[in-house]
């Protein structure tokens, strides 16, 4: 049994951590949060120079040719740093979509510019508030032209490319759309976490290129969401670990009634519980990474439990982080709210944990898994 990352993979993780500690301390996340800039361009460029955007893109398309276990290690560090870049939507979803469903021509066309950071990809599934089932999609494609409205689209204001779910002649399908082309109108929306930007996109006869088989958009979307869920779980895990470390450090240094706050059982026992939630999230995320790295039959269940536990752990830890900091935790000046905000964006990004729980029971029943 070797249910752990290899030394080489851990070394890659350490390199990523060192890079982000230098180039993306929390002050960088705050800078984007407080400014009108949608993302930190220099950091995006720097990540591309490190080869991160192209981590799993084969070398023939300009990527680094790593596996998903390596990408998971990078994701954990991006999460820990709350890096304000459009990494997840572009790498975990758009790039994966081209790799899994693209034709050779599409791979040649898109992957090199994704790998070097020139292109930013995203995905546009949701159209309105509520659970975004594929049945609810109203956008339409006719004769290669897309019409409809998508909101919210993460990074919709800055992405150059999007995978869009729309109904074609043979039913729901996925399409690649050039967001810089004609027929595309973008309107920025206020984000719950302004270090990550959101937009509404109106498509009016925008040229749309079929991705994968026409009429099979629902299955393909589910597959792609599973892959993105595992990688996003690592971002959530990294952020949750940072919440935990910051809270522990603060409660050890803060004195009340003549003792460190972290010496009170009321705090110690909650820190123990938080640690348990974090470790469960780590274990389930590892399981997801294992499934993603070549054990596809288990990916359906593994992606669900990775996403559910990572979302719940980060929600809990970011809430407790503010609570255990006391009054200062509620100030703009302290960084607790950066985690509190990111937690909710990451939990909502691929559909709510409640939707993933429903999906999990379907999959347990289908597989009769114990």
């Amino acid at each position: 049994m070797n249910f752990d990352f290899s030394d080489d993979q851990k070394l890659l993780q350490q390199t990523a951590r060192d890079f982000l500690e230098e180039h993306s301390p929390l002050a960088v996340c705050r800078e984007i949060l407080e400014s009108d800039q949608p993302y930190k361009k220099e950091l995006w460029r720097g990540a591309a120079e490190m080869g991160w955007q192209g981590a799993v893109i084969p070398e023939e398309y300009g990527g680094a040719g790593f596996g998903h276990l390596e990408l998971a290690m990078i994701a954990e560090e991006i999460g820990r740093a709350l890096a304000p870049i459009p990494f997840g939507p572009s790498v975990y979803f758009f790039t994966e979509a081209i790799l899994r469903a693209g034709t050779d021509a599409q791979k040649k066309k898109y992957l090199p510019s994704l790998a070097n950071g020139d292109a930013i990809g995203t995905f546009a599934l949701a159209e309105k508030p509520g659970q975004n089932d594929v049945e609810a999609v109203a956008a339409k494609v006719s004769a290669g032209k897309l019409s409809g409205t998508k909101m919210p689209v993460i990074d919709g204001d800055i992405a150059t490319l999007a995978v869009v779910a729309a109904n074609g002649d043979k039913g729901l399908s996925l399409y690649v759309v050039d967001l810089t082309g004609k027929g595309v109108t973008r309107k920025p929306l206020q984000s719950f976490d302004p270090s990550r930007s959101m937009a509404q996109i109106d498509f009016d006869d925008a040229p749309a290129e079929l991705l994968g088989q026409e009429g099979h958009g629902a299955e393909l979307t589910a597959r792609l969401l599973d892959r993105a869920a595992v990688l996003t779980a690592f971002e959530q895990l990294g952020a949750a670990q940072a919440c935990f470390d910051g809270t522990k450090e603060f409660t050890l240094g803060r004195y009340a009634f003549g003792r460190p706050v972290a010496s009170f059982q009321a705090i110690k026992h909650r820190l123990a519980d938080m640690w348990c939630e974090l470790e469960l999230a780590r274990s389930n995320a590892y399981y997801g990474a294992w499934a993603l790295s070549g054990y596809e039959p288990e990916l359906g269940v593994a992606a669900c439990i990775a996403r559910i536990q990572a979302s719940e752990a980060l929600n809990l830890l970011s809430e407790e982080m503010i609570q255990m900091h006391g009054g200062v935790g509620y100030t703009w000046e302290y960084d607790c709210h950066l985690f509190y905000r990111r937690a909710k964006v990451l939990a909502a990004l691929l559909g709510s944990p409640a939707a993933w729980k429903d999906k999990l029971v379907d999959r347990i029943e289908a597989g009769d898994s114990d």
């Binding site: 249910f3 110690k268 640690w275 590892y286 729980k357 347990i364």
Partner: protein
């Protein structure tokens, strides 16, 4: 990253399986579970368990990690886990040697003299003698070092008086490990001494404790002027706490979070009962709960896989393994409570005949509170995690440095 055995582990597994195939039958779906928590083992079970243990000992499969000179196999920790996984697949008698082999044996091997090891270890290993643990007292549970049973020196013997509690198997055991206070004028951890006691000695009385589920797995053990030879003392006078810690560390490694029922059983129940005229499994509130239980169970299991990976790499898992029981037992209790809720008004019943397939959950719900207490309560496990994993400051202790006799006590419990 993979879940497979290394070639060496696979070879060991095949060896274990070959011996088991030749000596036992695979456990069928209708065979009784190996876990008999809360059941009072009778003569028949004890004889069968002893015969099986003897068979294993003769073939070198009794205590894998123990040194060969004491009848062990000198095996690695991961090999021991592999053996346990394999043995669990076979219909073997209930394991009544867990305390002896898991806790008493390792303690004697660590702290005993050559003569003591020779006297006790071979018969312990072969199952000829069965052992129990006499640690907890009515007034000393989580605060074990607050125990009050006394030992007074009398020539070559010690005279022991007091009461022990929660002693699994005391009614059929031959030997017990015992911690008692020999000096109440020093600080509480310093006044303790550790003995091995003959359970048939004069002055020992064993009374069963009836649990909330009606089972009688535990006993109270009363000591009235019990004479223990000084030769049965383990380690020095006053070193009892250090020896007890050796025992307890082995205990935590051996108590898991099992016995809670599976999510697939819960799904079967949710298909069988209805909500609003439809199978409960179609109800979203039910699905949300099932998904939560499954996610947490799997998280505990995957955390176990990470621990096994550490073992496989030759590392020693530490206090991190407290997570399994802390999360697992609570999750099991919530699952059983939810299953009873799913039964609607039939949740009032506990009738294995008339409501077969349902009452198992009531039985579990009655058994699980014991899991959350035995071998370290949820609260003690949180202390262990916060102090030994997270390195947070220790609890401030009101009795620190005080002579034991001066430590305040509450009113006597019943």
């Amino acid at each position: 990253m993979d879940f497979n055995d290394t070639p060496e582990e696979a070879a060991f597994r095949a060896e274990a399986r070959a011996w088991l195939d030749a000596n036992a039958k695979l456990r069928g779906p209708d065979d009784a579970p190996a876990d008999v928590l809360g059941e009072r083992a009778g003569d028949k079970i004890i004889k069968a368990a002893q015969a099986w243990q003897k068979k294993k000992a003769d073939a070198g499969w009794a205590c894998l990690t123990w040194p060969k000179e004491y009848g062990g196999r000198g095996a690695t920790a991961i090999q021991s886990v592999i053996w346990n996984q394999e043995e669990a697949r076979y219909n073997t008698p209930p394991n009544i040697f867990g305390i002896g082999l898991g806790m008493c044996g390792p303690t004697i091997l660590t702290h005993g003299t050559a003569k003591q090891k020779e006297q006790w270890i071979p018969q312990l290993l072969s199952g000829e003698k069965i052992w129990c643990q006499l640690f907890s007292e009515p007034a000393a549970g989580s605060d074990l070092a607050g125990l009050r049973s006394t030992a007074v020196r009398d020539g070559k013997d010690w005279i022991v008086n007091g009461q022990k509690i929660w002693t699994t198997g005391a009614h059929f055991c031959h030997w017990g490990i015992l911690v008692v206070r020999h000096d109440a004028t020093v600080a509480k951890h310093s006044g303790l001494t550790y003995f091995v006691v003959d359970m048939h000695a004069k002055g020992i009385e064993v009374r069963p404790i009836t649990q909330i589920n009606g089972g009688q797995g535990f006993n109270e053990v009363f000591f009235t002027d019990v004479r223990i030879p000084d030769a049965n003392r383990l380690s020095e006078i006053g070193n009892g706490w250090a020896v007890a810690l050796t025992t307890l560390m082995n205990e935590r490694a051996s108590i898991g979070g099992g016995g809670g029922g599976s999510v697939s059983d819960l799904i079967k129940l949710a298909r069988r009962v209805q909500i609003g005229g439809r199978p409960a499994i179609e109800d979203n509130a039910v699905r949300q709960q099932i998904a939560r239980f499954y996610t947490r169970n799997k998280g505990v299991k995957m955390t176990g896989s990470r621990t096994l990976s550490a073992l496989s790499q030759g590392k020693t898992p530490g206090p991190e393994s407290s997570l399994g029981k802390l999360v697992g037992a609570k999750n099991a209790q919530e699952m059983a409570a939810f299953a009873i809720e799913l039964q609607g008004t039939s949740g009032m019943l506990n009738d294995p005949v008339e409501t077969s397939g349902l009452a198992e959950w009531q039985a579990r719900y009655l058994a699980i509170p014991g899991l959350r207490i035995a071998g370290g309560t949820d609260e003690i496990l949180r202390n262990i995690i916060s102090e030994r994993v997270l390195r947070l400051p220790p609890e401030s202790r009101a009795d620190k440095g005080m002579a034991f006799k001066d430590i305040p006590t509450g009113p006597p419990s019943r």
